[in-house]
Symmetry: C2
C-alpha cells in the first residue's frame, strides 16, 4: 500500500508524520519504503545518516528528471529503506511543466516496479499543490492529510481536497482519502475549536488518534532520530503507536 | 522601503509576521501596503474582510500573468492597503517558467510604479524557492528570514541564503538581508539550543527582538484580525511592538 502524506499548508507535520509512521511500522517488522519528494529533504536528513555524502543522481531527482529507477538506500532501521530528496528538486516544476509526456506519472511508473517488495510505502510531500505533489498523489493508493490547529490550517483542507478530486478524476481513479490526522494538539481553546470544526465538517474522515504537541519530537529531529529511537516513552511516540494500530492494525 | 518576509520552511510564521508588522506600523500612522504572493492567501483572508467576493483579476494573479497594474484594496485599518493573492497563483510557476521576458520582475515592474505612496511595503512569500519568491526578492529592498525553533527550521537558512545571494547577483544588486527573526520561542531546551545555534552562526544578523509562541496570535487569525485588534496586551502584540521599534524606529 502506497500512502501520500500531504498538505499545502506549511509546517503542519508532514515530514514528522512520515518519519514516525515509517519508523514505527519498520520497528514492528513491516517492510517500509519512505519516499521524500520535498526539496527541503527534511525526512532524508533525519533518516539517512549518510545524506550529506549523497550525489544528486542517487536521489529522487534522477527519477523525476531522467526517469531512472528509484534510488533506494538502506537506513539504520533494518526494515526501513528510503528514496532521498534533493534541493535541486525545487527546479523540477520547470521540467515537469514543459514535459509533453505523462509528467504526473514519473514517480508512479518507477514506484510500481518496486512497490511489491514493501508492506507500506510513505511519500512525504512538499507544502505545495505542485507537479511533485501531483506525482505523489498519482502514485499513491491513499492519502493522509495532516492538519494542525488554526484558521490557516483548517482553511487549507478545501484546496487539497479539490486537488485530490482532480487527481482522482484525471490521473488516479483509485486514490482514496485515508483521513485527516490532527497533529500538534495542545490544551488550548484554539485546539478545541479547531478539532471541533474539523469533526463537524469531516466527521467520519477524521482519524481518531490525535498526536499531541510534544517537544520530544523536535528534539528527536535535532538528533537525526525518529521519535521511537529518541524516546520510546515520549507522548508523541505513544500517540504514533496508537495511530499505527488504528490505521494499520499492527 | 520594500521588505520581503521569506523562508522555504513551512509554518515558521511568514504570514503572521507580515500581518503583524503591516498592521502594527499602520496603527502607528505609517502608510503601509501588504502584498500577498502566496497562493494560500492566508494574509489576504485575515486582512481583507471582502476576500471571498474578490475576482481573480482583482488579485496579484493579474499582475503576475498579464502584467496588469497591482490591484490595491483598502482594509479596515486606515493606513493599510493590500494586494491580495489567489489560489490560481499556484499555477503561475508554469507561466513564469516558460516566459521569455523578465519573469523575475513581473512584481517589481508594477510595484515600482506605486511604491512611493507608502512608507513600507511588506511581501508575504510562499514556503518555496519558486519564481514567486524570486519575484518578491527581486522587487524588495530588504528581506527578513523568519526562523522558528527546530532542526528543519535552522537547516532551511542555508538554502534561502543561497537564493538571496543568487537574486542579488542576477536580478537585484541592492537586496539586503535585514535579519533573522526568531518566532514561536517557548521555554524549552529546543528553543534555547535553536536560538544559541542561530546566534553563534549568524551573530549580528539575528534580530534582537524575539517573538514568543502565543496562542493569542492563532486566535486572532480565527477572528480575521491582526493581533493588535484582537488583543493589544497579548505577549505577541507587545513583542511585535518592540520589533517595530527595533527595526523601524517607530
Ligand atoms: N506533534 C508535534 N509536536 C511538536 N513538534 C512537532 C510535532 N509535529 C511536528 N513538529 C515540529 O514542528 C515543525 C514542523 O513540522 P514538519 O517539518 O514535520 O512539518 P511539515 O508539514 O513537514 O513542514 P513543511 O511544510 O515545511 O514540509 C518541525 O520542527 C517538527 O519537528
Ligand atoms: N508566535 C506565534 N505564536 C503562536 N502561533 C503562531 C505564532 N506565529 C505564527 N503562529 C501560528 O502558527 C501557524 C503557522 O504560522 P504562519 O501560517 O504565519 O506561517 P507561514 O510561514 O506563513 O506558513 P506557510 O509556510 O504555510 O506560509 C499559524 O497557525 C499561525 O497562526
Ligand atoms: Mg516537510
Ligand atoms: Mg504563510
Amino acid at each position: 500500500m502506497i500512502i501520500a502524506i500531504a498538505s499545502q499548508k506549511g509546517g503542519v507535520g508532514k515530514s514528522s508524520v512520515s518519519i514516525s509512521l515509517a519508523a514505527g511500522l519498520a520497528r514492528k517488522g513491516k517492510k517500509i519504503l519512505l519516499v521524500d519528494i520535498d526539496s527541503q529533504a527534511n525526512s532524508s536528513k533525519v533518516i539517512l545518516p549518510t545524506y550529506q555524502a549523497i550525489q544528486p543522481e542517487e536521489t529522487i531527482l534522477s527519477t523525476i528528471l531522467q526517469r531512472s529507477p528509484l534510488p533506494v538506500h538502506p537506513t539504520r532501521i533494518p526494515d526501513l529503506e528510503i528514496v532521498p530528496s534533493h534541493i535541486l528538486l525545487s527546479n523540477t516544476d520547470i521540467e515537469l511543466t514543459t514535459a509533453i509526456d505523462h509528467r504526473e506519472a514519473r514517480l508512479k511508473s518507477e514506484l510500481d516496479k518496486i512497490k511489491d517488495k514493501y508492506d507500506f510505502v510513505f511519500i512525504d510531500c512538499p507544502p505545495a499543490l505542485s507537479w511533485l505533489t501531483i506525482n505523489a498523489l498519482t502514485a499513491a493508493d491513499k492519502v493522509i492529510i495532516v492538519v494542525s490547529p488554526g484558521y490557516f490550517e483548517l482553511d487549507s483542507i478545501v484546496q487539497i481536497s479539490k486537488t485530490i478530486k482532480e487527481v482522482r478524476a484525471f490521473f488516479n481513479p483509485i486514490l482514496e482519502l485515508m483521513g485527516f490526522l490532527f497533529n500538534m494538539s495542545d490544551p488550548t481553546i484554539n485546539t478545541e475549536v479547531s478539532l471541533q470544526l474539523l469533526r463537524q465538517t469531516y466527521t467520519d474522515k477524521v482519524i481518531k488518534t490525535i498526536i499531541p504537541r510534544n517537544v520530544d519530537l523536535k528534539d528527536a529531529h535535532f538528533n537525526k532520530q525518529d521519535i521511537f529511537a529518541f524516546s520510546p516513552t515520549a507522548k508523541a511516540a505513544q500517540a504514533f503507536d496508537r495511530l499505527i494500530t488504528e490505521l494499520f492494525n499492527v
